[in-house]
């Protein structure tokens, strides 16, 4: 089981499995036999049917062949160039003959080049003007904006102060009116209380007076009743009149 887990033997098993199903292609066998036959070099002490071997082709042979082919191509090219080269002509005639064609060929290019240069200069000048105008307008816009901001801020402060003053005045007025209303309400409450107290005292006095009078009258009636219903030989009790409330309150 340990061997099964050894990676080396797992890899070995994989290698063996890969080559297990391989068969030799027929063309390889034939090519091998053909090469062996080509290299046949019979020896005196070997069997006649023994296939000989000759030396392997040198690895430098392709390089030599390639170098020889390259040299031949270079030589052929040189010879072809030499043979096909035109003969020298008179420079003046050549210049005179070529001048119109050269001028006609160069004129559009030169014109286009000049136009292109002018366009570039104009573009540079326009770019510079654009930058300068942009900077000036930016500075002017910034100044105007600062000025407007200062004016707006000052006006805003004045309006705010005025509004605050009005607000304070309105608050004072409302506070004074509230105090007046509260004072009036307290006064009315106090007056009502005093009036109620007076009425209550008067009512109580009236009730006491009436209660006392009624009690005196009841007492007299009771005394008269007792006097009329007195039996023979019973002396009349002496009763003293009870002073009334007004008599008791006399000084």
């Amino acid at each position: 089981m340990k061997k099964h887990h050894d990676r080396l033997f797992q890899a070995l098993a994989g290698l063996k499995r890969e080559g297990a199903s391989q068969t030799v292609p027929e063309e390889v066998v034939e090519e091998t036999l053909r090469q062996m036959a080509d290299r046949k070099e019979p020896r005196a002490d070997s069997c006649p049917r023994l296939l000989p071997v000759r030396r392997h082709s040198s690895a430098r042979r392709p390089l030599v062949r390639l170098a020889a082919a390259a040299a031949i191509f270079v030589l052929l090219g040189y010879l072809a160039g030499r043979l096909s080269a035109p003969k020298p002509q008179n420079p003046d005639q050549l210049r005179a003959a070529l001048a119109p064609a050269v001028a006609a060929a160069l004129e559009p290019a030169l014109r286009e080049r000049v136009v292109e240069d002018l366009r570039q200069e104009y573009q540079l000048a326009l770019a510079a003007v654009y930058v300068r105008v942009k900077e000036e307008l930016t500075a002017q816009y910034r100044d105007d904006l600062n000025r407007f901001a200062l004016g707006t801020l000052a006006a805003s402060n004045a309006v705010t102060n005025e509004l605050l003053t009005q607000l304070v005045q309105e608050l004072d007025t409302a506070k004074t009116q509230d105090l007046r209303r509260i004072t009036r309400a307290l006064y009315e409450i106090e007056m009502n209380r005093v009036q109620d107290k007076t009425q209550l005292a008067s009512g109580l006095q009236t009730l006491a007076s009436r209660t006392e009078n009624e009690l005196s009258r009841t007492r007299q009636e009771f005394a008269q009743l007792v006097l009329h219903a007195r039996p023979q030989g019973f002396e009349r009790p002496t009763t003293e009149p009870i002073p009334t409330h007004q008599e008791r309150n006399k000084p």
């Binding site: 994989g14 290698l15 091998t32």
Partner: protein, 178 residues
């Protein structure tokens, strides 16, 4: 035994040579080149000396050529393993396990290509061609103890390369084989 008929030898031992080379190279064209070079070298050797063990000689030559090509690949940093060539033929139908096995096999090939030549030969002859220590020693013309040392070093290097741990059973198997 003198070599009598190379056509018969190719037909008899060709599959063994092909499998030996293909296991290490996993590339059809490289294997074909290695196949041809092996038999051409065998012919040269047979002309110089008597060949007692044709199979051993062919396996040795195929292994040597395949390792040379592996080393060339390593120097060129160009692995030409064919995409379909690494398809395993085992009973494992799990794609993940199959991919893992292919990756392990590829890493083992690269590691063998980086081994010293003698150790790589000994390792391949022992574990891929299942030759005994004595046969390996006779083919490589070295001592049996040298075979054991080279095999041990090769396994250590390969395990380091594959990031695996050595097992005791492996050593027991080596002792039995020696």
């Amino acid at each position: 035994m003198q070599v009598q008929d190379w056509q018969t030898i190719v037909s008899e031992h060709g599959p063994l040579v092909w499998r030996t080379a293909y296991r290490l190279l996993a590339h059809h064209a490289d294997t074909a080149d290695c196949f041809q070079e092996t038999f051409l070298a065998a012919v040269q050797i047979a002309q110089r000396q008597r060949v007692r063990n044709v199979s051993g000689l062919l396996v040795h030559l195929a292994t040597t050529r395949a390792i040379d090509r592996l080393r060339q690949r390593g120097r060129q940093e160009h692995c030409r393993t064919e995409a379909g060539a690494c398809r395993t033929t085992g009973q494992n139908h799990d794609p993940a396990a199959e991919a893992q096995a292919q990756e392990l096999a590829g890493r083992l090939r690269e590691a063998i290509g980086r081994l010293p030549e003698q150790e790589a030969k000994v390792f391949c002859l022992r574990y891929l061609n299942e030759m005994s220590y004595r046969q390996i020693a006779r083919e490589l013309k070295i001592g049996i103890s040298a075979v054991g040392v080279a095999l041990y070093r090769a396994k250590v290097r390969l395990r380091e390369a594959l990031d695996a741990t050595p097992t005791e059973e492996d050593e027991v198997q080596d002792e039995e084989a020696s």
